[in-house]
C-alpha cells in the first residue's frame, strides 16, 4: 500500500475525530462561564448547580479533546516530514505560539478551576473559567492562522527550497484567516449551545429537575440562535472570499464545470459525472449564485474546466480538480444543517419567550431537540471536508502538493500500524465518551441533585454528580 494514502487516511480520521471535541470544548467553556457568571452576580445556588452539572460533560469532553490533540501536533513530523521541513518556518510558529499562549493557559486554569471551588475567592475562581474559555478561543485562532497559510499562503518567500517567513503581520492579517476564524468560532459556540439545549430539552420532556434544565435551555438557546444567525453571515462572507481566493474550491462545491453565464444560477441538485466533467442533470435557481458570490444579481463564475486550463498553464501539467461530487454534497449538507439549526433556534426562542414558563407546552419540539444535537457535528465535519478536500491536490495551495509532503523515511507498514492503533483507541474513546455522557444525563444518576458530595475531590465515585458541593 502507498504510504501517502495511509498518511492521508490517518490525518483525515484523527482530525475529524479530534474536531468532534474541539467545538464542544470551545462552546461549553463559554456557556459554562456565562452560567457561573450568573451564579456569582445573582448569587442563586441554581446557577452553581447548573454550572457543575454541565462542567462534568465539559471535563470529559475536554480530556478527550486534549489527548487527541497531542497527536495532531506530532503527526506533522511523523507522517508529513517533507511538509514540515518545507513550511516549518511559517507553519511552526503558529503551533508554538498556540502552545505558549493558549494551551498553557487552558491547562493551568482548568486545574485551578476544577480543584479551586472552595479555595479561591468567588470572582477569582470565576476568572479562571473565563481564562479557560479565552484559551480555547486563542487556540482556535492560532490553529486557523496555520491552516489559512495552507489555503492561502502569505508572508513568505521561497529560499533554499523552503518557504521562509518574511512578514508575520501578513500571516496575522491573512484575509483567509479573517474569513475563517469568525465562522469557526461561531459554529463552535453553536455546537456547545445545541448540545446543552438538546440535553436540556430531553430532561424537560421527562420532567427532570425542571427548574434547572429550563433555565439551561433558555441560556443555551439564546446563545445557539444568536450564533447560528451570525454563522449565516460569516459563512456567506467566507464563500464570497473563496470565490476570489480559491475559485476552484467554489466551482467544485457548485459542480460548475463550465464558466457560468451572467447572472449565474445556483444549482440545488446535480447528477454529477466526474469522468465526463459535466452534470447529467441539474435543478437551478436563477440569479442566486451571482448574489451569493457578489451580493448583486449579476456576475459570472469561472468553471472547473477553465480553471484547470489556467492552473495547467501556471503550474504545469497535472490534475488540479478536487473531488467534485464530495464537495458538492458536503457543501449542501453543511448549509442545510445550518439552516435547520437556525430554524430550531428561532422556534426555541419563541418557545421560551416568556422566560421559561412557556417551555413545557412545546412537547414535540422538546422531543425533537435531542436529535438536533447531531446537526452541528454533521455541519462541522462537512465544513472541514469542504475546506481541506477543496484544497487538493495541494497541501499548501500553489506551493506544495500533498503527494510531495509525506515522510520519505517512514514505511507503509509503520504507518499502517500507527493508523490501526490510533483508530482503535479513538473508537474506544468515542464509545466511552458517549457512555459517560449518557450516564451523567440519565435520571437515575441524579435523583437528588442536592445530595451532599465531596467538596474536595472532583473525581469521586458519585456517578458523575461529583463536583456538586
Amino acid at each position: 500500500m502507498d504510504p501517502l494514502i495511509i498518511a492521508r487516511l490517518q490525518f483525515a480520521s484523527t482530525t475529524i475525530f479530534h474536531y468532534f471535541f474541539v467545538p464542544v470544548s470551545i462552546g461549553l467553556a463559554f456557556v459554562i462561564a456565562i452560567m457561573q457568571t450568573l451564579y456569582v452576580f445573582k448569587g442563586q445556588e441554581i446557577y452553581k448547580r447548573m454550572t457543575k452539572f454541565w462542567a462534568v460533560l465539559f471535563l470529559i469532553n475536554f480530556a478527550v479533546g486534549i489527548v487527541t490533540g497531542i497527536f495532531q501536533e506530532f503527526q506533522f513530523g511523523m507522517n508529513w516530514s517533507a511538509y514540515s521541513r518545507f513550511v516549518g518556518d511559517v507553519f511552526g510558529p503558529s503551533l508554538a505560539i498556540e502552545g505558549l499562549l493558549a494551551f498553557f493557559m487552558e491547562s493551568t486554569f482548568i486545574g485551578i478551576w476544577v480543584f479551586g471551588w472552595n479555595r479561591l475567592p468567588k470572582k477569582i475562581h470565576l476568572a479562571s473559567i473565563w481564562l479557560v474559555s479565552l484559551g480555547t478561543i486563542f487556540s482556535a485562532f492560532w490553529i486557523l492562522s496555520a491552516n489559512s497559510f495552507m489555503q492561502n499562503p502569505v508572508g513568505y518567500e521561497i529560499a533554499d527550497g523552503r518557504a521562509q517567513m518574511n512578514n508575520f503581520l501578513a500571516i496575522l492579517t491573512n484575509p483567509h484567516l479573517w474569513a475563517q476564524f469568525p465562522h469557526v468560532l461561531l459554529t463552535s459556540l453553536t455546537t456547545g449551545a445545541f448540545l446543552i439545549a438538546g440535553i436540556s430539552a430531553w430532561k424537560i420532556a421527562r420532567k427532570h429537575d425542571l427548574e434547572m434544565f429550563k433555565k439551561s435551555f433558555r441560556i443555551s438557546i439564546v446563545v445557539g440562535f444568536l450564533t447560528a444567525f451570525a454563522v449565516l453571515f460569516t459563512g456567506h462572507w467566507q464563500a464570497q472570499h473563496l470565490v476570489q481566493e480559491q475559485p476552484m474550491k467554489m466551482a467544485a462545491a457548485e459542480a460548475l464545470w463550465e464558466t457560468s453565464g451572467d447572472p449565474a444560477p445556483f444549482t440545488v441538485f446535480a447528477k454529477i459525472n466526474e469522468k465526463a466533467k459535466e452534470n447529467d442533470f441539474e435543478i437551478q435557481i436563477p440569479y442566486l449564485l451571482s448574489f451569493l458570490s457578489y451580493n448583486q444579481f449579476n456576475g459570472s463564475l469561472e468553471g472547473i474546466n477553465q480553471l484547470q486550463d489556467q492552473y495547467e498553464a501556471k503550474y504545469g501539467p497535472g490534475n488540479y480538480i478536487p473531488p467534485v461530487k464530495t464537495l458538492f454534497w458536503v457543501f449542501r449538507i453543511m448549509t442545510g444543517a445550518g439552516g435547520v439549526m437556525l430554524l430550531l433556534g428561532l422556534y426555541g426562542m419563541y418557545a421560551s419567550r416568556k422566560n421559561t414558563v412557556t417551555l413545557e407546552k412545546h412537547h414535540k419540539f422538546m422531543k425533537l431537540m435531542p436529535f438536533a444535537i447531531a446537526l452541528p457535528f454533521i455541519a462541522n465535519t462537512a465544513g472541514w471536508l469542504l475546506t481541506e478536500l477543496g484544497r487538493q491536490p495541494w497541501v499548501v495551495f500553489g506551493l506544495m502538493k500533498t503527494e510531495d509532503a509525506v515522510s520519505p523515511s517512514v514505511s507503509a507498514s509503520e504507518m499502517l500500524f500507527s493508523l490501526i492503533s490510533f483508530t482503535t483507541i479513538y473508537a474506544i474513546l468515542g464509545a466511552l465518551t458517549i457512555y459517560l455522557f449518557v450516564r451523567h444525563i440519565k435520571p437515575e444518576q441524579r435523583k437528588d441533585p442536592e445530595s451532599p458530595v465531596s467538596e474536595e475531590d472532583p473525581f469521586n465515585n458519585k456517578g458523575g454528580a461529583e463536583i456538586v458541593s
Binding site: 486534549i66 508554538a96 479555595r119
Partner: protein
C-alpha cells in the same frame, strides 16, 4: 549568541521543564497503584498531581511546537525517525490522560481497576521511551545526507538505550515519590518515603552506570572537554543527597535535589550535543546542527519576541497554581467517599 543558539537553549529549557514536571507526574502515576492499598488511597495519591499534570504535559507540546518553528529539520527528522517509539508514547499519553478523568466516573471496582492499569502503563511507558530516545540522542542515529533517519525500530533498542530507559524510569519513580512526600501526610507519606529509601539506591547505581557507559560510548559528556563530565557527576551526587535528605525527612529538599538531578542530566546531554541537535552515526557531516536545521532569521526573531513576552506570564501563573494547591492532601477529612 545567535538566535538559533538562543532557541536551542530555550528548547533545552522546555525539555528540562517537561522532564522535571511531568517526571514526577509519571512517577506518581506508576507508584500510586503500587502504594495505594484501596480505592481511596489511590485517589489521594492521584490527587497529589490532579491540578498539575495537564499543564505539565503542555511543556512537551510547547517543546514540540518550538522545535517545529525554530528547527523544522530537527522536528521532521526526529519525529519521523522515532516513529514507532512515538506511537507507543502517544498511545500511553492518551490512555493516561483520560484515566484521570474517567476513573471516578463509574462506581464499580472493575471500572476503576481498568483506569488504574491505564494510568500505570500510561505513566510507565513514556519515561522508558524518553530514556531510550535520550540515549539515542547521545549515541547518534543513522541519519543520511537528506537529513532522513534510515533503518528500523529495533536499532533504537541497543543495550545502552535500554539502560537509559530503565534508568530514566527509576529516576522518575524516585522523583515522584519525593513529590508525594511533600503533598501528603502520615501513613501515606511514610509509605512513599520508605519506598523512596529502597528505590533511590537502585536509581543511583543505574544512574552511575548510565553516565559512565555514556562517557565511553558517546561523545556528549566530553565533546566540549573532559571537565564537562563534572555535570552528570554532580547530577548523581544530587541524587545521593536526595536519598540522605529523604531519610532525614527533609522532604522539600529531597524533591529539590531530585529535580536538580534531572535538570543537570538533561542539561548535560543537550549541552554535549551542541551545536549538533541530532548526531548522525553515518557521518559527522550529516549531523543536524543548530545552524543547518534552523528556521530563517526572521522567524526566529518573531518567535523570540513572542516567547520573551509570554514566558513570564506563563511561569507566573503556573507558579501561582502550585502556590494555591500547596496544602498537603489529608486522607480523612477532605476526601469524602
Amino acid at each position: 549568541m545567535s538566535l538559533s543558539e538562543f532557541w536551542f537553549i530555550l528548547i533545552t529549557v522546555l525539555f528540562i521543564g517537561f522532564f522535571v514536571l511531568e517526571g514526577f507526574d509519571f512517577g506518581v502515576g506508576v507508584v500510586s497503584r503500587l502504594l495505594g492499598k484501596n480505592d481511596q488511597e489511590i485517589r489521594v495519591y492521584m490527587n497529589t498531581i490532579g491540578p498539575f499534570w495537564d499543564a505539565n504535559e503542555v511543556w512537551l507540546i510547547v517543546a514540540g511546537g518550538a522545535m517545529f518553528a525554530a528547527f523544522p529539520h530537527w522536528y521532521a527528522t526526529m519525529f519521523s525517525g522515532f516513529y514507532i517509539p512515538l506511537v507507543f508514547m502517544l498511545l500511553a499519553l492518551i490512555m493516561r490522560g483520560v484515566s484521570f478523568e474517567f476513573r471516578g466516573k463509574v462506581d464499580s471496582d472493575r471500572w476503576r481497576r481498568i483506569w488504574d492499569w491505564s494510568l500505570f502503563i500510561g505513566s510507565l511507558l513514556p519515561p522508558v521511551l524518553w530514556g531510550v530516545v535520550l540515549a539515542n540522542f547521545m549515541t547518534g542515529m543513522p541519519i543520511d545526507a537528506n537529513k532522513e533517519m534510515t533503518g528500523n525500530f529495533l536499532q533504537f533498542l541497543h543495550p545502552f538505550a535500554l539502560l537509559g530507559g530503565v534508568m530514566f524510569l527509576f529516576l522518575t519513580l524516585t522523583h515522584g515519590l519525593q513529590f508525594i512526600t511533600i503533598r501528603t501526610h502520615g501513613e501515606l507519606q511514610e509509605r512513599a518515603r520508605s519506598m523512596a529509601r529502597k528505590l533511590t539506591p537502585i536509581t543511583s547505581v543505574l544512574f552511575l552506570a548510565f553516565i559512565i557507559i555514556g562517557y565511553f560510548i558517546s561523545d556528549v559528556f566530553s565533546y566540549h572537554g573532559q571537565t564537562f563530565m563534572v555535570i552528570p557527576i554532580l547530577a548523581w551526587v544530587a541524587l545521593l543527597f536526595a536519598n540522605l535528605h529523604n531519610n532525614q525527612k527533609l522532604d522539600v529538599k529531597a524533591f529539590m535535589l531530585t529535580s536538580i538531578t534531572i535538570i543537570l542530566l538533561t542539561g548535560s546531554i543537550f549541552l554535549g550535543m551542541f551545536p549538533r541537535v541530532m548526531i548522525s552515526s553515518l557521518s559527522e557531516a550529516y549531523s543536524l546542527t543548530v545552524y543547518n536545521a534552523s528556521s530563517g532569521g526572521y522567524t526566529l526573531k518573531v518567535m523570540t519576541i513572542f516567547s520573551l513576552f509570554l514566558l513570564p506570564f506563563v511561569l507566573g501563573y503556573q507558579a501561582w497554581s502550585y502556590f494555591i494547591f500547596r496544602k498537603r492532601i489529608k486522607q480523612d477529612d477532605e476526601l469524602e467517599y
